[in-house]
């Protein structure tokens, strides 16, 4: 790679905020969700039908493009951030500052 090319690539790099929402699969028992639901109902929130508890992980990554960022975070989710046996995940991506 020439210096010029590398500078051009650098120029396109950005930081992205990936908000990863990890949920338990619908059929998996969620004692925490049940406890929160019961807690809310005992506070008088009878309108609550169901509660499911999951994880919210904010990952700030450096990437070349939104696609690149999403690809990287997807791999992170599969490898570490979620447990494929019990969980599913969703990624919400927002570009942050330019480099």
């Amino acid at each position: 790679m020439t210096d010029e090319q590398s500078t051009r690539n650098e120029a396109r790099r950005r930081t992205y905020l990936a908000e990863v929402l990890v949920s338990l699969k619908p059929v998996v028992n969620d004692p925490q969700g049940l406890a929160i639901r019961d807690g809310l109902r005992s506070l008088g929130y009878d309108e609550v039908e169901a509660v499911r508890a999951g994880k919210y992980i904010r990952v700030t990554v450096d990437a070349e493009s939104p696609e690149d960022a999403r690809g990287r975070v997807t791999r992170m989710c599969d490898q570490l951030l979620s447990n494929p046996v019990t969980e599913t995940y969703e990624i919400q991506l927002t570009p942050l500052a330019d480099h």
Binding site: V27, N29, D30, P31, A35, N83, V85
Partner: protein, 735 residues
């Protein structure tokens, strides 16, 4: 016959077994019935392969109040009290989802104990993993340890002892055995026997979801990851705590005649067990079962393994009081059925009959298999390998070898694990984990204490299953004796590979025979247990691992021993002085060999050494004791010095001389019937005399002092170096 192979595989039954079902029923089973047969005739519930072998175990004794056959064994400990205990595996679920698998394993064994009416007072865990150099094994290790702590801590039952061992064969097939110990007044012991036609069948605790359907069958096939993959069970320790308290209250309700927890095979197994034990029938309506999910079929309700549920059989007039208790704990109690006189298990779905089968068809008619076992030629060859040809360890290599052994994963400090387990709750723990060979807990309102430990050296069992089975029992009992307690009785968990392979069956059969022999010789009946077969992965079977759990009694809990000598104490090694390199940790770690014959064991001598150690602790002669296990004499000695935070000057030449002049065998070889003890210098003569009179060989090693371990003619090492090596082994297990 129209049944397809796929349908049979789904329930893990053979075509022959299916034919037998048709013959018994004189018709084809309904889908629900087939699912129920699959679960009840699985190895997990039906003990198809192990039942004939288990009859070898001695299970009777003057103190035995309840032997195998109920949810747990019960043994008299005086003062009108009984100790109730059992060990159980949760290997397959833990291989899939280690945290929840281990957590629900703890939940399951705790239910077994309070189902008997006993209040759980201690938890133990026996774990086996592949080497931590592999990321997957680290993941399993962290998850399992997390799950055990997570569930037990939350319940408020102290986790006080256990054992951990690593070997390649457990990669992909970790073992998670959990043991629970409870206490109950004799008259409150509850059994799982239905009685009284017309009595109500009440389901209490959690709602039923699609969790772990086929768990029982799934525990009875090889390679679970590739076959049945039910929905992972997620435990709720909070709910279990409520269930525990409510059930222990419910026990005293006039009219409650039986309790049975829901474990493997869920409602199916509970109903069948209660009915068949009571020689009666049960009719239930699945429509009355509270659900967590919509659209569940009767099949799913009958086979769901949702956790934290319990079945109670109560006379109609006892129901209101029972209900009141569960209401107070915010748990629902659904009347789902009734005890009948026809001996049938009848499952209704509203007005439809989903299953109608005599209960005994599921239990007594379950086929059993007696197979021919043949020892693997590879094992014979490994055992016969001549270890005398090996070059002895050079004196200059002793210290580096010792440090390597102390830091190895099979020997190093379990502190990073034990820290994450609450061991102080219930304010009974007298000898906590790491401070003794076994844990000691006091029994409130008495002067007594219990000592508990699990053990099994699977390498010994692999190389010689008959001998190894004896070792498992002897070592666990020895650890308990080292606290001053008298071993009362045993529980066990038979973790083996496939019994359908001749060498696998051979291992199982021989190990059981060895355990039976040692249990007989040591006077410790086997009162409960569990079988987990088919522990195989693509790389082959696990090392055969018959985990033994021992419960011992201290009449005066004040007179106990830990493993830390005081400065100024004199150290002795008692008992067997000839060690063996066969199957040793030294051979595996330093030479990369699992070979040779494991140490021999003379059970009369074993009993003698153990009783001598106990007596000496009780009489106050000995105040610290530690048996020599993996790593041999020198490792055990180092462990005691680390505990004492002091050093020792020692001449080990006599030890070597007793081992044909070999340092490796004398210092790192392993042996049964060998215990290190310490006593005050002014009592040393007395101890020597007592040993002499008892016929127990005692070799004086030296006086605990200073801060180095100095070995004449070998070299010395700083206590801090020993401590660092031993402490660092399991620290920073990352990635």
């Amino acid at each position: 016959m129209t049944i397809t192979d796929t349908a049979l595989r789904e329930v893990a039954l053979t075509r022959d077994e299916y034919a037998q079902i048709v013959l018994l029923l004189d018709r084809e089973p309904t889908p629900v019935e087939l699912g129920m047969f699959g679960a009840m005739w699985s190895e997990h519930c039906g003990y198809k392969n192990s039942r004939p072998l288990l009859t070898l175990f001695p299970s009777e004794g003057a103190r035995v109040l309840q032997g195998p056959g109920e949810n747990a064994g019960a043994v008299d400990i005086g003062d009108g009290l009984a100790v109730v205990f059992k060990i159980e595996s949760h290997n397959h679920p833990s291989a899939i989802e280690p945290y929840e698998g281990a957590a629900t394993g703890v939940g399951g064994i705790v239910r077994d104990i309070f189902t008997m009416g006993a209040r759980p007072v201690a938890l133990l865990n026996s774990l086996r993993f592949g080497p931590l150099s592999q990321a997957r094994n680290r993941y399993l290790f962290r998850g399992v340890v997390g799950g055990i702590g997570g569930y037990g801590n939350s319940l408020g039952i102290p986790t006080v002892a256990g054992d951990i061992f690593f070997d390649d064969s457990y990669s992909g097939n970790p073992l998670v055995n959990a043991m629970c110990v409870g206490i109950v007044p004799h008259e409150s012991i509850m059994r799982a026997r239905a009685s009284g036609v017309g009595n109500l069948v009440v389901l209490v605790g959690a709602d039923t979801g699609r969790d772990g359907i086929h768990g029982a069958t799934f525990a009875s096939v090889e390679n679970p990851e590739e076959s049945h993959r039910g929905v992972v069970q997620v435990g709720n320790p909070f709910l279990e705590k409520l269930l525990l308290e409510a059930c222990l209250e419910a026990l005293h309700v006039d009219g409650v005649v039986a309790m049975q927890d829901l474990g493997a095979a869920g409602l199916t197994s509970s109903i069948v067990e209660c009915a068949s034990k009571g020689g009666l029938g049960i009719e239930l309506d699945v429509a009355r079962v509270s659900r967590r999910e919509t659209g569940m079929t009767p099949y799913e309700v009958m086979l769901s393994e949702s956790q934290e549920r319990m079945l109670i059989i109560v006379r109609e007039d006892g129901l209101p009081t029972l209900r009141e208790i569960f209401d107070r704990w915010d748990l629902h109690s659904d009347v789902i059925g009734v005890v009948t006189g026809d001996g049938h298990v009848r499952v209704m779905d509203g007005s439809d009959v989903a299953a109608d089968v005599p209960a005994v068809f599921f239990t007594d008619e379950c086929p059993t298999y007696v197979r021919d076992g043949v020892e693997s030629p590879a094992v014979i060859a490994a055992r016969q390998q001549n270890l005398n040809a090996m070059v002895d360890v050079a004196p200059a290599e002793v210290v580096p070898t010792l440090l390597r052994l102390l830091g190895s994963h099979n020997i190093c400090s379990r502190e990073p694990v034990v820290r994450t387990y609450d061991h102080t709750i219930l304010s009974n723990t007298v000898v906590p984990p790491l401070e003794g060979d076994a844990a000691v807990i006091r029994i409130k309102d008495t002067s007594k204490g219990l000592s508990v430990k699990t053990d099994c050296n699977p390498r010994f069992v692999y190389l010689d299953p008959f001998l190894g089975g004896q070792h498992a029992v002897a070592e666990a009992a020895r650890n308990v004796s080292c606290t001053g307690a008298t071993p009362l009785a045993l529980t066990n968990c038979l973790n083996f590979g496939s019994p359908e392979k001749p060498d696998g069956y051979y291992q199982l059969k021989q190990a059981v025979a060895g355990m039976a022999k040692a249990a007989e010789a040591l006077g410790t009946p086997i009162v409960s247990g569990n079988v987990s077969l088919y522990n195989e992965s693509n790389d082959g079977p696990i090392l055969p691992t018959p985990t033994v759990g021992v419960v011992g009694l201290l009449d005066d809990v004040q007179r106990h021993a830990g493993m830390a000598p005081s400065v100024g104490d004199v150290l002795y090694v008692l008992g067997e002085q000839r060690a063996t390199l066969g199957g040793s940790e030294y051979l595996a770690l330093i030479h990369g060999l699992v070979a040779g014959s494991p140490p021999g064991i003379d059970l009369t001598k074993e009993a003698l050494v153990q009783s001598f150690v106990r007596d000496s602790i009780r009489s106050g002669l000995v105040h610290a004791a530690h048996d020599t296990s993996e790593g041999g004499l020198l490792v055990a000695l180092a462990e005691m010095l680390i505990a004492a935070r002091a050093g020792l000057d020692v001449d080990l030449s006599r030890i070597a001389a007793l081992n044909d002049g070999r340092l490796d065998r004398g210092l790192f070889g392993e042996a049964a019937s060998r215990v290190l003890v310490s006593c005050r210098p002014e009592q040393a003569r007395k101890l020597e005399q007592a040993a002499d009179e008892a016929g127990v060989m005692a070799i004086r090693l030296g006086t605990v002092s200073g801060t180095t371990l100095a070995m004449t003619g070998i070299g010395s090492v700083d206590l801090s170096a020993l401590t660092d090596a031993w402490r660092s082994g399991l620290v920073n297990i990352e990635g």
